[in-house]
Symmetry: C2
Subunit: 119 residues, 2 copies
DNA sequence: TCAGGACATCGACGGACGTCGATGTCTGAA
DNA sequence: TTCAGACATCGACGTCCGTCGATGTCCTGA
């Protein structure tokens, strides 16, 4: 929840993943491994300007505001979303580096190593 | 555990994801969202011939054989691994379609839709 | 036919997770 | 200063998950 960001990710294929590396990557995938959070990320990414207001996100689900707030916190803590408070409203945006990092995991061609800094 | 395979996946970015689509994709990511399973997939993918014997996988972890067997079952049930019994030994192999399907999720350029059939 | 090894399954336990209602905190307007 | 709205946090509840020891199933060689 407050750990410093570490190097991530090399492709899953190719060379065997170290235990430490797996421990770093798993939380990223765990944050995405929920239908609601998957839709939240998708909704935010597809919104105008690549960001969305929490008030709009709340309306898109049949869930409590507390629950949506919780899911956004999980995504933000994992380093997948940026948070920007403007007056009364809070806007969340997808962090492109985060998406690229995860994409690199499943890339079968490239060998890039990326850095991801949560929160 | 025994559901028929359904269409998966369109990129997370671009158009908002439907609830049904999210419910189908989440189990895939949930299966990968564990350090041990991440290493298992990586180990198998990096093995000669793209497959590995359970006996060798057991030795790579400080975990019970029952636990490794459980994780392999989770990955197999999600459609990520193929299972092949040869005599006394069981070999698991990564399903390329599965990896491609997940990769497509985080692809920011392509618009491909792939099908993934579990078990 | 029998013994041993490879792997799966079962049942149980502790901890983590998703959801909720209630409450707290901050901001802008009256 | 006060109030209403937007969002976060808290505490609680039921469920799911990772791990284990014990046991079951299947195959092979003697």
């Amino acid at each position: 929840m407050s750990e410093p960001g570490l190097a991530c990710c090399t492709p899953l294929t190719g060379t065997p993943m170290s235990a430490e590396q797996a421990e770093q990557v798993a939380p990223l995938l765990k944050a995405l491994a929920d239908p609601v959070r998957l839709r939240l990320v998708s909704l935010i990414a597809a919104s105008a300007g690549g960001e969305a207001c929490v008030c709009d996100l709340n309306d898109a689900f049949d869930l409590t505001q507390a629950t949506i707030s919780h899911h956004l916190k999980v995504l933000h803590s994992a380093g997948l979303l940026d948070r920007d408070k403007r007056g009364v409203w809070v806007f969340y945006a997808v962090r492109p580096e985060a998406m690229t990092a995860v994409a690199t995991l499943f890339d079968t061609t490239g060998r890039t190593t990326l850095a991801l800094t949560p929160a």
